[in-house]
């Protein structure tokens, strides 16, 4: 069953065609890696899938709901209810502790629940660091808080933008193990990455170039080649 379905999606900024006629389907529970050089349209595509931007044309279905023509307020509600975001630069609120950062996502979604937030931190191995500010946490710890925050509202789709891009090898490995575990649990993941080892963990890899998806035939191979080049 497809969770996400993009048909003929284009994004045009003035004269620049950031995305051109994108067709993409992501199945429930699938892990998709999104690769491509800088300026290929990865971020634009992530913004559209993550309900943070509206496509110029085409249709986007998420969990059976077409959100290509909805209002900004409805996009916010969709994002809040169905999407979990993990960022390369972690993006934690600097003046809130780890547990409070998770509760912020609950606060905007429904009701803050400290116990549940602590349990989410426990799951990523950071319960002991719950009362620490982001500045008191390592990069790996911050990313784990970010993952816990992305999961706290039980999203249908996890969008991760280079989640290991700012981490050392040990922490990157730890974070990827979490993603593997999430995948095993049935979460649907779309992950932007430049790292072929990360892309290999995904079930499928899509490569973007000049705003178009290329080489649909053997995308896993293309991902490898893309990483090598």
């Amino acid at each position: 069953m497809s969770l996400l379905e993009l048909q003929d999606v284009s994004m045009i900024y003035g004269n620049v065609k950031a995305l051109q006629e994108i067709d993409l389907t992501v199945q429930q529970g699938e892990w998709l890696a999104l690769m491509g050089p800088s300026g290929s349209g990865k971020t634009t595509l992530m913004n559209i899938i993550g309900c943070m931007d509206k496509a110029s044309s085409g249709s986007i279905m998420l969990d059976g709901v077409d959100f290509s023509g909805v209002t900004a307020r409805n996009l916010t509600m969709l994002r809040r209810d169905k999407i979990g975001l993990v960022f390369q630069q972690f993006h934690l609120v600097p003046y809130l502790t780890a547990v409070e950062n998770i509760m912020v996502a609950q606060y905007y979604h429904s009701m803050p629940d400290e116990e549940e937030a602590l349990a989410a931190l426990d799951r990523v191995g950071l319960k002991e660091r719950a009362r620490h500010l982001p500045s008191q946490l390592s990069g790996g710890e911050q990313q784990r808080v970010c993952i816990a925050r992305a999961l706290i509202n039980y999203p249908m789709l996890i969008l991760a933008d280079e989640p290991t891009g700012n981490l050392d090898e040990t922490n990157a490995k730890l974070v990827l193990e979490f993603f593997q575990q999430l995948h095993r649990e049935g979460h649907t993941i779309i992950m932007v990455t430049h790292d072929p080892r990360v892309a290999e963990l995904a079930e499928r890899c899509v490569v973007l170039e000049h705003g178009r998806i290329i080489n649909r035939k053997d995308q896993r191979m293309v991902c490898r080649e893309e990483a090598i080049s």
Partner: protein, 376 residues
Amino acid sequence: MTKQSMYFTMIWHALLRRRSRMFIALLAVAIGATVLSGLVTIYYDVPRQMGQEFRSYGANLLLLPIGDQPVLAETQMISAVRLLPPDKLIGIAPYLYDHIKVNEQPLLVAGTRFEAVKKVSPYWQIRGTWPAEDSEEIVLGAEVAERLQIEPGQLVTLAAADSDGDKKVKVAGIVKTGGSEENFVFVDLSLLQQLLHKEGMISVAQASITANETELTTWTQTIEQQVPGVAPRLVKQVTQSEHTVLGKLQALVYLVTIVVLLLTLICVATTMMAVVTERRKEIGLKKALGAENRSIILEFLGEGLALGTLGGLMGTVLGFFFAQGVSINVFGRGISFQPLIALLALFVSIGVTGLACLIPVKIATDVEPAIVLRGE
């Protein structure tokens, strides 16, 4: 944890854990509130302070005998005084004017109560001393003393112009005012009444009252209606110049207050704009996490209002000390704490901060959530 307590946690931590940033904003609000509260206190205290200052220039209300009557009874003066508010009455000095011989020289004499004169005419400069209470000592005007070659401490002979009896009295002091007082001999009222056989009679009573022209006019009308035989008159030069000077001073302070209010508004708005600009990423993140514009507005307004309250409280207290300092240095008198002004300053600070937050908050809602993925 409820939504409300999470909201206050976010506001509180945004202020507390970003101390250095928020200190600047707090300083802007507190300085504005200090000047505002101080100036408003001065604005309302200036009439009282200046009113008291003007009282040192002499009487502003005269009680005269009606029509062509030469004298009025002291009891009439007392009846009139009862109609004046005791807390505003600085003093009332009765005067009985006539002629008298001092060392055989005919001179103008004024019988008065010296204790009252000290209050009503504090500008009198006495060489020597004031006459002791209940004594028969006198004060000579500087011109008279010079003409008679008399120094303080000397004895002189007083005699009524149409009487043979005389009395030896001591000159306690010599008064210098630069006015007509220098041509008079001042003696105790009871002594003069006795010498002239005019017991209980006075020519005029000079009153010094802390009040504006309107209040004085009202009281003169009341006295006119309720005390027959007494004609109350305002000393126009004093009351009108007092009214003019006070009006101008208040207008000046009012103008400065408005300017300070505008400057505070600009200062707080600029600081809040800087706060919003440096937190664009945080706003984008919150939006990416699902925050609606309403939530962002409430959070920034909450921070602004908390700053306004905190800064307003600080400013209200500091403003009182500022006004106290100004009052002591300019008028030489302290001021009393006015709870209503303190409340007003606090609410104005909160209001001004809230108003100053409107544009930055609008900017905050325009931030796109996509900036967190673009890495801007």
